[in-house]
């Protein structure tokens, strides 16, 4: 069985670096652009994320999810860290209609496209209120207190929707923790 790009990166294969950038550069850049305040910030964040990906390449376990999922997870965590450190104003909340999901936009690799399709299908299986809370929270980085205010729901209800939605998604997507949790 051939090694994945990240496994080759962790083995010190220089050609895998270029391949990683070519395959996931668009994804990481787009996530950075979505969250960062301007282009310069997004460029810095993209570089920071790739360094983080390469430093953590040995932690990628193909049994736990695809490479694109692992890379998206690292990108998201790094971007949220940057947001929190900078205490920057969060992106504007649009409450009009349902989230489009960006599913009409072409994705740059087959693997990413497959993963996106799978995630969107699983999201559709959530209750509408769970989906709304998760979209606002994960995709638009809106704090739960703000979601409660905008949706006119008690904070406890928002927390319950978020918790149940995430548990259901974890099951639907088959994404398990690395080891038995305590």
């Amino acid at each position: 069985m051939s090694l994945s790009i990240l496994q080759r990166v962790s083995a010190g294969d220089e050609s895998a670096i270029e391949e990683c950038l070519s395959q996931y550069g668009g994804l990481v850049w787009s996530m950075a652009r979505k969250i960062c305040s301007d282009q310069v910030d997004a460029e810095d964040a993209t570089q920071e994320i790739f360094i983080e990906i390469w430093k953590n390449a040995d932690r990628y376990d193909p049994g736990l999810g695809s490479e694109s999922t692992f890379i998206s997870m690292i990108a998201r965590r790094r971007l949220i860290d940057r947001l929190r450190k900078n205490s920057r104003a969060l992106p504007t909340v649009s409450m009009e209609g349902e989230y489009s999901g960006g599913d009409s936009v072409p994705k740059d690799t087959l693997e990413i496209s497959d993963e996106v399709g799978k995630a969107l299908k699983c999201m559709e299986q959530l209750k509408p209120e769970e989906r709304k809370v998760i979209e606002l929270s994960i995709c638009q980085h809106v704090p739960q207190t703000k979601i409660a205010e905008v949706l006119d729901l008690p904070l406890g209800t928002v927390k319950t929707h978020a918790r149940r939605g995430m548990i259901r998604l974890r099951e639907l997507l088959g994404l398990k923790p690395q080891k038995g949790s305590v």
Partner: protein
């Protein structure tokens, strides 16, 4: 589908961390629990990454950005064993 809504203490803290509602004390406890189980990331982290990816239209990076990152990569790559 009958999902179990029960979470271990570690999973609950992981979820709170993801939503940015973890106190400094809880954060410390989470780090200790993660050290015990050897977890670098949780299933919830993967879910969040996947959800964000699914809601991000892909754009091309600015010209030259990936070349710059590629050139700087050698400094951080591990030595081949």
């Amino acid at each position: 589908m009958n999902a179990s809504w029960d979470l271990s203490r570690q999973e609950q803290l992981q979820l709170d961390s993801l939503f940015g509602v973890l106190s400094a004390e809880d954060e410390q406890e989470l780090q200790q629990l993660n050290a015990i189980t050897g977890e670098d990331y949780s299933g919830f982290d993967l879910v969040a990454g996947m959800v964000l990816m699914a809601h991000t239209p892909i754009e091309s990076p600015p010209e030259g950005l990936l070349d710059v990152i590629n050139r700087s990569a050698k400094k951080i790559l591990p030595d081949p064993e």
